[in-house]
């Protein structure tokens, strides 16, 4: 076998594993969300199918697979069929740059535990992930339904408002780590949790987290599919398999976005204590375990927010994005650039970020309080 063939086979195997991981995470995350939301609202959640309700999502999946695919009258047929595919494909492609573990050596061959490992892989992730907005907008437009259209409109406005914050808030990490390569950024955070970028870039972390939640359309930023206002939002007219594709893309993008947050800010596959990775397959499994644990914690955080916070109003969403988060992202970028150029130690950066967060919190809550008092 020549080199090219072996390389192709390894890559195909990796694609299979990552695809299975991302798609397989969907029923788990859905069940976790329904159970956890149930407990937060003091009700049992799904508890009829299987022990403890564990088989509920499987049964739901089976039901929806056999459902009729209805195409309503008056839709734009081509884009109506195309939209669900355009939503889920970018999510799956963007998962290809995530490092799921340290490089391992199997049969004398070094294998990176990411499908694609190249310079600029972080830029690639953002470039591809932003494309999924087209599917949502097209779904809303081609459904020939006012609520769907409103959902699509909201989605596009929200996406490009928060995309700027999302991409600006990671420039701080690029400055401190000096690379666009996700595997390198993950490897740099080895040696205990105090090396994680979260503590080097606290402001960037919070900004990125908020913008990421907006980007995957989760509560409190789920205006494109606000049930109480828009029936179902952009996917109101969809049923059967096409609806499932929207559903899957939503939950798999939660998984993929969590894994990127974990890789960028929470040390990626590194455990929270000092640990030197060898190159055996077992060390790879340890890396995967810690990454999955961090993803689980982030997914829990997303669900927790959904159980706690009310949805933002549209003008509040725009105000938060353009008047608070974006200036803060610029501030973070400028301060980080100056401190990196002066070569100051990391803890100064961290403390500056925490201070900026506290000051912002005080100022914003003051403004909101005054405004509320003025309104009576």
């Amino acid at each position: 076998m020549n080199e090219f063939l072996i390389y192709s086979l390894i890559t195909i195997a990796k694609i299979g594993v990552v695809f299975g991981l991302v798609i397989g995470s969907v029923p788990v995350v859905v069940l976790a969300e329904r159970k956890l939301l149930g407990w937060m609202q003091v009700r049992p959640g799904p508890n009829r199918v299987g022990p403890w309700g564990l088989l509920q999502t499987l049964v739901d999946a089976a039901k929806v697979f056999f459902k009729e695919n209805i195409i309503p009258d008056g839709v734009e047929p081509l884009t109506y069929r195309l939209a669900p595919i355009l939503v889920i494909t970018p999510v799956l492609i963007s998962a290809s740059v995530i490092p799921f573990g340290p490089p391992v050596t199997i049969a004398g061959r070094e294998i990176t535990l990411a499908i694609a490992d190249f310079d600029l892989s972080l830029l690639f992730f953002f470039a591809v992930a932003t494309l999924s907005v087209y599917g949502i907008v097209l779904a809303g437009w081609s459904s020939n339904n006012k609520w769907s259209l409103m959902g699509g409109l909201r989605s596009s406005a929200q996406m490009f408002s928060y995309e700027i914050t999302l991409s600006l808030s990671i420039v701080g990490i690029l400055l401190t780590s000096g690379t666009f390569r996700l595997t390198a950024i993950a490897a740099q955070q080895a040696g205990g949790f105090w090396h994680w970028n979260m503590f080097l870039q606290p402001l960037g972390f919070v900004l990125f987290l908020l913008a990421a939640i907006a980007e995957v359309n989760r509560t409190p930023f789920d205006l494109p599919e606000a049930e109480s206002e828009l029936t179902g939002g952009f996917h109101t007219e969809y049923s059967g398999m096409r609806f499932v594709m929207f559903y899957m893309s939503e939950y798999s993008s939660v998984f993929v976005m969590s894994s990127v947050i974990a890789t960028l800010f929470l040390g990626g596959y590194n455990p929270p204590f000092p640990y030197t990775f060898g190159t055996s397959w077992f060390d790879g499994a340890i890396g995967l375990f810690w990454l999955l644990a961090k993803i689980g914690a982030l997914v829990f955080f997303f669900i927790w927010l959904r159980g706690t916070l009310p949805r933002l109003r549209y003008d509040e969403l725009m105000m938060l994005g353009w008047k608070i988060l974006l200036p803060l992202a610029f501030l973070n970028l400028i301060v980080t650039a100056i401190l990196v150029a002066l070569n100051w130690p990391g803890w100064v950066l961290g403390l500056t970020g925490v201070a900026a967060l506290i000051v912002t919190d005080l100022v914003v809550s003051q403004i909101l309080w005054r405004r509320r008092r003025a309104a009576g």
Partner: protein
């Protein structure tokens, strides 16, 4: 198959896609489909950037144009009531002759220029992959191309001020 001919095959495909989708943008009656075709144009251009070994420009092309600017286009079109913005392009059909000449000249020059570029990057028949360096991009941008870079930022600043003025007037 030699790698260089594979490059040319990719190039021919991407260039054809870029031109066809650009033509569709000009001639389509539905504005939403026109924007989608423009997305295809941008993605094809990104592919050509990859072929001439500038991955940074390619990804920025996807990120900024396809990911942000065209979403804004789509937003504006939908805000203007989508079913009414579909235009009948009678004037384009009336001037078909001159339009086709212009389109032909533009197509030929596009093919000529990009193919010439491809040859200068890869040499006549030798394929080599250059190491990409972000530092080189940044230092070139801030030394050799400093003047255009700063002029662009002034232009953008003017656009921002103009937008704020228009918003204030209303």
């Amino acid at each position: 198959m030699k790698l260089i001919s594979l490059q040319y095959a990719f190039y021919a495909f991407l260039a054809t896609m870029a031109i066809l989708s650009a033509a569709y943008v000009a001639f389509s009656r539905k504005t939403v489909y026109a924007v989608l075709a423009l997305v295809v144009t941008m993605l094809s251009l990104a592919g050509i950037f990859l072929l001439i070994q500038s991955p940074f420009a390619a990804l920025i092309q996807v990120f900024v144009y396809a990911g942000a600017i065209l979403v804004l286009f789509l937003y504006v079109i939908m805000l203007l009531n989508p079913r009414q913005t579909d235009v009948t392009i009678r004037s384009m059909v009336e001037h078909r002759g001159p339009m086709l000449v212009v389109a032909g000249v533009l197509t030929a020059s596009f093919f000529f220029l990009t193919a010439k570029w491809l040859i200068t990057v890869y040499g006549a028949d030798e394929f080599q992959f250059k190491e990409f360096s972000l530092i080189e991009v940044a230092s070139r941008l801030l030394s050799d191309y400093l003047l255009p870079f700063e002029l662009t930022s002034i232009l953008l600043l003017m656009a921002i001020i103009g937008a704020v003025l228009i918003a204030k007037r209303n």
